[in-house]
Symmetry: C2
Subunit: 345 residues, 2 copies
Amino acid sequence: MANRSSTSVNRITMEDIASEAGVSAMTVSRVLRSSSAVLPETRDRILDIIERLGFVPDQSAGALSSRRSGFVAMIVPSLNNSNFADTHRGLTNVLRQFGLNLLAAFSDYSLQQEENIIETMLRRRPEGIVLAGARSHMTKRSQHLLKMSRIPVIQTWDVPDEPIDHVVGFSNFNAAYVMVEHLWSREYRRIAFLGSSALGNRGSKRISGYLAAMKKFGGAPTIVDTGPVPATMEQGQRALDILTKQRPDADAVLCISDPLAFGLLMACNRQGVAVPSQIAIAGFGDFDIGRWSHPTLTTVQVGSYEMGALAGRLMLDAIDAGREGQIIKPTVRETGISVIAREST
Amino acid sequence: MANRSSTSVNRITMEDIASEAGVSAMTVSRVLRSSSAVLPETRDRILDIIERLGFVPDQSAGALSSRRSGFVAMIVPSLNNSNFADTHRGLTNVLRQFGLNLLAAFSDYSLQQEENIIETMLRRRPEGIVLAGARSHMTKRSQHLLKMSRIPVIQTWDVPDEPIDHVVGFSNFNAAYVMVEHLWSREYRRIAFLGSSALGNRGSKRISGYLAAMKKFGGAPTIVDTGPVPATMEQGQRALDILTKQRPDADAVLCISDPLAFGLLMACNRQGVAVPSQIAIAGFGDFDIGRWSHPTLTTVQVGSYEMGALAGRLMLDAIDAGREGQIIKPTVRETGISVIAREST
DNA sequence: TTGAAAGCGCTAACAA
DNA sequence: TTGTTAGCGCTTTCAA
C-alpha cells in the first residue's frame, strides 16, 4: 500500500487533521477561518489536534483558491533607517487589524535590485504594494510591472511628478523651503546647501525648494555636492573641508538628511568649529541621532509614522474596493511637515 | 458563452500566454524556467507576448505544485539597525545566487509579535527561516512552531543554550570579556557595565562575560541598569547621572551596545566630561554612528555581514540536503570578534 | 521538442 | 452543522 508518506517531504495537511478528527477537510478549514459555525465540541477536538501536531495551514494554497494572498508587500531602500522603520510600523499597525501581513524586501538603493524585488513580490501576488522612499526615478520595467499589476500601488516619501498610482508623501520642495525660512528668521544669511545633486531623487526637489527660497529672500545660494545617494555620515564628515573651500563665509548649512548633518556636526566638533555660533547646521527627517547628539540637531519632521498609517488606511480602502470589482482613482495625500528647532541653529 | 473573464479579478495566466502563442501552457512554463529545450523561435515568440502583456507567473501556484516556495524568511527585531542590515545583505548576496529570495518581517522587539510573524511566515512555506538577533528567550509556541516546521532554522547573533536547530553567532560572553581585557590593558581599573539586566537576552551573556573578566583581573564590578531592551541612545543619555551616583569613581564604562554608548558619549560632551581622559567609553557592535562620532567610539566588531553570508551558505546546504530527503544535523558556527580601538578609550 | 493528464492544499459554492 | 465537488495556476510525469 504505497501512500504519500513514501515521499521525502511529507507535509501535514488539513486532510490529515480532518481524518484524525473524523470530519472532512472543509470542517477544519471552517474552524481555522471561523467563517461559519462549527459544533463547539467538534471545534475543540480539531483545535487540539492542530495544536498537538503543530499544524500551520498552507496559505499559498489557500490564496490560490480564495484569490487572496493576505499580504501587502513593502519595498524599502535600506534596513538601516529609523524613518522607514516608523513608516513600516505605521503600516503594520493598520494592516494588522485587517488581517493583512506586511512582508518587506530591500533594494539597497539600487534600481536594478529594486526592479528584481518588485518582480519577486509580484510573483507572490500581494494584495497591494507600498514603495517606501520612492524616487521619481525607477526603471522603465519597474514602472511597467507595477502598472500592469492590477493591485493598489502606494508610493511614499515623495510626491512624484508622474505617480504610478497612489501617493502618500510630503513636499520635499516645501520641506527645504520652510527650513530656509527658519534659518533666515534666525538672521542667517549665507546659507549653503549640502547634498547630492544627482537628479531624479527626492534630493533634487529639496534643492529646488532651497533655491526658490534663497531667491525669494535674496540670498546667494551655494550647493555643495557630497556624492551619491544615500547621503551618509561619512559624506558629512568629509564635507566640512569642501564647504570651507567652496563657501568659507557660510554661516548656516542646510543638509539633505540628518545623517549627513550629523557627520558635518561631528567634524565641526572635532575641528573646533562652534555650532551654532560659527556655523549653524540643519538636517532633515528627524532621525534619532539628531535628538541625542550634542548639540542637538535642528531638523524637519515629516511624519514618518503617520505616512505609514495613512498609506495603510488608503491601502485597505483600495483593496476593499478591488474586492468589490471597483477601483479607487489615484489619490495623493500629503502629511504635514514642521521645523523642529534645536540647538544646532 | 460565459467564461472566466466575467469575474471581477481576471488575472493573466500561462494558459493565456500559451493560447496567444499557439502552444500549451507547459511550453510556456518551460520557457520561463528554462528547464528543458524549447525551439528558439517558439521561445522568442512566447517571451515577446509575456513582455507585452506584463505577465508575471504566479509563484504560489508554482510552489504548490513543485513544493518549492523559492524563498527564505528572515525575522528581525527592528528595521532600524545597521548591524542587521549588514547581516541581511550577507544573506541576500548568497541566497540570490541560488535563486532564493529573502523576505523579511519585523517583531519590534516583542515576543508576541515575533510569534505572530513566525507563524505568518510558516504559512507561506519558506524553504528556511533565519532569526536575526535571536534571543534565547522566545515564547514556547514560537519554539514549538519552529521545531515542527521541518525546515532549516538558523538563529544568528547569539549562541543560545538550547538552539532550535542551527546557529551562526558569536560568543556574547567573550565579546564582553575581551573588551574588559582591552580596557584593563589600557590601565583602566574601575570599569562599570551599562545595560539592561533583563534576563533571557543577549545582554545577560555580555554581563556574565564582564563579571567573569572583572573577577579574573580583580576589579570591582558595577552594573548600571538602563532599562528595557533595546538599549537606546536616550537610555545612554540618561545613564550619565545614574552612573555618577552609583559609581562616581568609574574611569571606564562598557556599554551593552553602540547606541547606548553614543548616548552616554553625547551626554559627556554636553556636561563637559572629557572622554577618554576623565572617563573611557566602549560600545558594542561596530554601528556606523561610532565610526563618525567625536570622539570615535571603541567597540567590538562581530562580523555582521559575515554572519549573514555564513548563514546563507549553511542554509543552502541544509535546503539542498532537505531536497534529497536528508537532514543536516544542527550546526553551530561562530564568527570571530575583535576589539576596534578608537578614540573613546 | 511538445502535449495531456493528474494533482499540489486549500476554499467557494452548493447540497444535504 | 457538515460534506461533496470542482477548480485556483502551476509543475510533475509520462507519452508522443
